[in-house]
């Protein structure tokens, strides 16, 4: 009987004009658009230079800044006040003022002075641009000292950065595994739930309920097609990540599929709970929208969980997305094995058990 029910689901899915296309579109977006859009590297900062020194050294500094690739000259101005309107218009993100006497001071071995002003309306951009600039200027001054035979500026510490597991600090390596988690949540959790609510809304569930089809079988027939789609899409994503971006999981694929199985079980349960409490698609959609917002913003997808305030971190403890995202990133980047991921495994399994029990209980009540 299950065969007939699943056959019916696939038949309906293939006739649906929107859902299959949406699944393909979403996969392509997640693989080809989001990794670029969600890139947090700052490029093309529009820089206004106020060069009052007009010397070869100031010229050289500007050259160095532009050749870094992070900054783009948007125009020179005679004075700081003259540059401000450009910032106000949005033509400039940052002003660098080089005071007159810059070269003279440096040649005398005195401290050169520079003024940097960044538009911090977009705080992330302003902050990052300033720190890039600081690094470039530090590099510049080290160059000058070496050329003139001066000893390197002694400082108490010299920080050597080494980006482990992602040496080029490539955001795509970091984002792709997490975006796959988002995709699984939508495909395996929310689509089947909406499908069940649609049967409620159209009244067809009534007709099924008077047949001898047991409810569990009916629900199973709803979930299985999306489980299959989920695994197909995941495999496709892994293949695309390898082919297009050259990003391979450092760890084992088996670990990824094992965790995905648990996670799909978990989100299916969550979807069922939502569908049991909703009578209309509108209700279900809104509840899902609510959870998706909370889960994604508190999952560490964009901002690390460890930099959230304590109380927010406490909330993320009950966010299943967070655990699966950790798993995917660790397997992909660090090559973590199953034993290292045991805490996440237990967390995900307990969510899965709780949600399925809840789904079964609320289903019996709603019947």
């Amino acid at each position: 009987m299950l065969k007939f029910l699943i056959e019916k689901e696939f038949k309906q899915l293939s006739r649906d004009k929107v859902i299959p296309r949406l699944i393909v579109m979403l996969t392509l977006l997640v693989m080809f658009v989001f990794p670029w859009a969600a890139d947090q590297e700052i490029k093309n900062v529009k820089l206004h230079v106020v060069d009052r020194d007009r010397s070869s050294l100031s010229e050289r500094l500007v050259q160095k800044v532009v050749s870094s690739g992070y900054f783009r000259l948007s125009g020179p101005s005679a004075s700081y006040d003259g540059a401000m309107p450009a910032v106000e218009r949005g033509d400039a993100d940052m002003i660098m003022e080089i005071p007159s006497g810059f070269e003279r001071d440096l040649m005398r071995g005195e401290t050169g002075r520079l003024l940097l002003a960044a538009n911090a309306v977009n705080g992330t951009k302003g902050g990052l641009a300033t720190s890039y600039m600081a690094a470039i200027v530090a590099d510049y001054s080290a160059d000058l000292r070496a050329e003139n035979g001066l000893p390197a500026l002694s400082s108490a510490f010299k920080v050597e950065s080494s980006f482990r597991f992602n040496p080029r600090l490539d955001y795509k390596v970091f984002m792709l595994p997490a975006l796959m988690v988002m995709l699984m949540t939508l495909l395996a959790g929310f689509l089947p739930a909406l499908n069940i609510v649609a049967e409620k809304e159209s009244g067809t569930i009534e007709q099924i309920n008077v047949t001898p089809v047991p409810k569990t079988l009916f629900v199973l027939a709803k979930l299985i097609p999306y489980w299959i789609i989920g695994f197909v899409v995941l495999s496709l994503c892994i293949a695309l990540a390898a082919l297009v971006y050259g990003i391979y999981p450092t760890g084992s694929l088996l670990t990824i599929y094992l965790f995905t199985t648990v996670y799909i079980w978990l989100v299916s349960g969550m979807g069922l709970v939502i569908s049991n409490y909703s009578d209309t698609i509108q209700q279900a959609m809104f509840v899902m929208f609510f959870f998706i917002m909370v889960f994604i913003l508190m999952s560490g997808l964009f901002t690390p969980v460890s930099s959230m305030p304590q109380w927010a971190q406490a909330i993320t403890a009950i966010n299943p997305l967070k655990y699966f995202m950790q798993v995917m990133r660790q397997v992909y980047l660090k090559g973590s094995g199953f034993m290292e991921l045991l805490p996440q495994f237990f967390a995900l399994c307990s969510f899965a058990v709780v949600l399925s029990v809840w789904a079964v209980v609320s289903y019996k009540k709603s019947a």
Partner: protein, 308 residues
């Protein structure tokens, strides 16, 4: 043995009593009609008997099986056609039929003879999506799907609501043929004219059965003489009739008002009264009461007819 039997069924939604102490029996091969206005509790009763809902009070059995304890066995032996079209709109006519046959562990071929008469009319549209069928065709398809597993009892919840008069007539002819094949049919309808086609009817109002009888006996038991009154000024007629003291009840029935007298009064006096009130082309004639008249009489206290 009775195909359907209910004793003291009650069901409340919060403070609203949807069903109150409903008891009745349906014999094999009977068409049993449940007649009443919208919101009287017809659908709730059907949902309880088809095991979709559990009653708060009372017991019921279908085909000798308890609706609570043996619900799964009942589901194999009854066919249910909900009031709302609830087949898969995105599946074709044939796919719907095959799907419902398969979920009952049978095939269309095995039971085709049951639906042959009806399905023949649908056959030209067999590849059309159910969503694109006309109202009457939808009802026929729904009936086919409810019959394809060879049920012993058929529950039809307002099968003809929203269907044109010709299709309604055809639909009832189909029911008559199914009864001839030995099927027991429970049908609910808000249309009183369909009541006379049933073997027995139950009049339901506000969750209570007012009467269970054959349509003929219900009509025969009508205690008063009833007159159809019409005039050129129908708009004022009902008001004037109700203002006339000897009139017991007066209801608007399409082209005429049906009037009964509370006291002894002859139609001639009424005619004189109405003429005095300025009504012309008056017609007052004694008629056979209909089921609707009986329903009106049973459902209202005698005063209602005058005040409302």
């Amino acid at each position: 043995m009775n195909r359907v039997s209910a004793t003291g069924i009650g069901k409340s939604y919060g403070p609203v009593k949807a069903l109150d102490d409903i008891s009745f029996d349906v014999a094999p091969g009977e068409i049993f009609g449940i007649i009443g206005p919208d919101g009287a509790g017809k659908t709730t009763l059907f949902r309880i008997l088809t095991t979709l809902l559990t009653a708060d009070a009372g017991r019921a059995s279908v085909c000798g099986l308890d609706v609570v304890k043996e619900y799964r066995a009942i589901r194999c032996r009854v066919g249910y056609m909900p009031g709302r079209f609830s087949l898969y709109r995105d599946l074709s006519v044939e796919e719907n039929l095959r799907f419902f046959a398969s979920v009952f562990n049978t095939t269309v071929e095995a039971n085709y003879h049951l639906v042959a008469d009806i399905y023949r009319q649908l056959a030209p549209f067999s590849t059309r999506k159910a969503a694109q069928l006309s109202g009457g065709m939808k009802q026929k398809l729904a009936l086919c799907c409810a019959l394809i597993h060879k049920p012993e009892v058929l529950f039809l919840d307002e099968p003809t609501t929203g269907v044109d008069p010709v299709s309604r007539k055809e639909f009832w002819e189909m029911l008559m043929r199914l009864r001839a094949d030995g099927l027991t049919i429970l049908v609910s309808t808000p249309y009183m004219d369909e009541a006379s086609l049933c073997d027995r009817i139950a009049l339901i109002q506000s969750g209570r059965f007012l009467k269970i009888e054959t349509p003929r006996r219900i009509v025969a038991a009508y205690p008063r003489k009833i007159f159809a009154v019409s005039s050129s000024r129908m708009h004022d007629l009902l008001r004037d009739l109700r203002a006339y003291a000897p009139v017991g009840t007066a209801f608007s029935f399409g082209a005429a008002c049906h009037v009964t007298f509370a006291a002894d009064d002859c139609p001639a006096a009424l005619e004189a009264y109405l003429t005095a009130r300025g009504h012309s082309s008056l017609r007052v004639e004694e008629i056979e009461p209909t089921v609707e008249d009986c329903f009106m009489l049973l459902s209202k206290t005698p005063d209602d007819g005058k005040r409302a």
